[in-house]
Symmetry: C2
Subunit: 260 residues, 2 copies
């Protein structure tokens, strides 16, 4: 039993939910609600109340039995635990469509993140004004990171240059990277890396959507009648994206040999 400080080792799954709780608490606070039960907060956050209580218990015993949680108090405690009571300077590399959107995203600044630099490799973009920031050359990366003591970098470049940019960020001293490029990046130990891949999210939805369509049809699955590429190095074209039509038959074959 912790007589004093709560254990600093917070499970990763819990850490991932703390920002959701924080957002829910801010919302409650803005609605003038001063106190809430674990059940109410859990509902607002979209999780189970038992899970919420266990998550909060990792932070300490904030909250009062028989009453619930003081919204402002808990909000501050979570914010402090996450670190958003501090000011985090951030650099965004790659100011395409996505980088553009990210630099304007209001949710960053309101959570303690301050975008201090926008970098792009395209000289044609240098000098372009975005809000109160100017797009600068990638060559200034190292100086800017050092000058502003930037610890967090966002990669929004094409996949081809993502690893290169990542390496430069790490070399310059960035120790946390958020990657939007559709590429697998590798970083040395001590550097945290998270990724957001928009098309992967859609593909996961597509998988479940396909299963649902299959279930309601009751019929065995079927895609367009394209032939399955053979198991030999034959560059067949499996794309075959056609107009929405009735599904054809599918050879549900997965054996690749015959038993001896």
């Amino acid at each position: 039993m912790p007589g004093g400080a709560p254990d600093r080792g917070i499970p990763e799954a819990t850490v991932a939910r703390l920002p959701i709780y924080l957002r829910a608490l801010i919302s409650l606070s803005e609605h003038g609600i001063a106190t809430c039960s674990s059940e109410e907060l859990a509902t607002a956050a979209g999780v189970n109340s038992a899970k919420l209580r266990k998550d909060l218990s990792y932070l300490g015993s904030y909250g009062t039995r028989g009453v619930g949680y003081d919204v402002e108090y808990l909000r501050y405690q979570i914010a402090r635990e996450i670190g958003v009571t501090q000011d985090w300077p951030v650099v965004i590399v790659g100011i395409g469509n996505l980088g553009h959107a990210l630099s304007n995203y209001a949710g960053f600044r309101s959570r303690g993140f301050r975008i201090v630099a926008l970098l792009d490799s395209d000289p044609a973009r240098h000098g372009e004004q975005l809000g109160d920031l100017t797009i600068r050359s990638l060559e200034e990366l190292e100086d800017l990171v050092a000058e502003h003591r930037i610890a967090i970098g966002v990669i929004a470049t094409p996949a081809a240059s993502a690893q290169q940019v990542c390496d430069r960020l790490v070399a310059a001293g960035v120790t946390s990277i958020l990657n939007f490029a559709p590429a697998v990046l590798s970083t040395p130990d001590g550097v945290d890396l998270r990724k957001v891949d928009l098309s992967i999210e859609l593909q996961i939805l597509a998988y479940h959507e396909q299963r649902k369509a299959l279930a309601t049809r009751g019929a065995p699955r079927g895609v367009n009648g394209a032939a399955v590429p053979a198991a030999s190095p034959t560059p067949a074209a499996p794309a075959a994206s056609g107009p929405p039509g009735p599904p054809g038959a599918d050879p549900r074959d997965h054996r690749m040999g015959e038993p001896a």
Copy 2:
């Protein structure tokens, strides 16, 4: 063990990785590589080779012992399993900065997703041309979903209107939703919902960053969020906002509560 067709119940964690494998296979294919081992593919995907093999085993026994996997063959099998051999019409609601970026995102079309409608509630935006699409009124949502048989919707609106848009999408027949709005949405059973929250990802990084900064300082505890590099402007301790102050004085509290 399954003597016949592979079990249709693929673990969620595996489903989430299949698009990564697919991307890695496409990359290998474009480099002219016809065959690869689980070790190579696992490296390209950034995962453990044992995990990769187990994941693939849920799909069936594609692959040849002693040889490896045929890149084109496996690529097609995964694409079919995910459902990206089909054509998925998608509607995007909320064409702000993010919606704008999403509508231009090349990764969607190349994965079988076809954006067929851009909707926004702001009349000033209606008629605006984005690529080969025109921003239309939200009032056309129901008709468009029915006409194109849209099953997947993307919400990129502000948080305040997200649930309302979500409800309309569901009512119109959409059964899979990707939510970018920073809000917790609720959907009826049978409707899949995934969320991408940009600021949450940064907050998770901030947590680890804070821990790293704390560890290098050697101060295990007792340091409030102010003793960090750079200048932290305003920790913004929430002044007791009203009668219900923080509950009883907490021993590990720093400066929050006034002694009752």
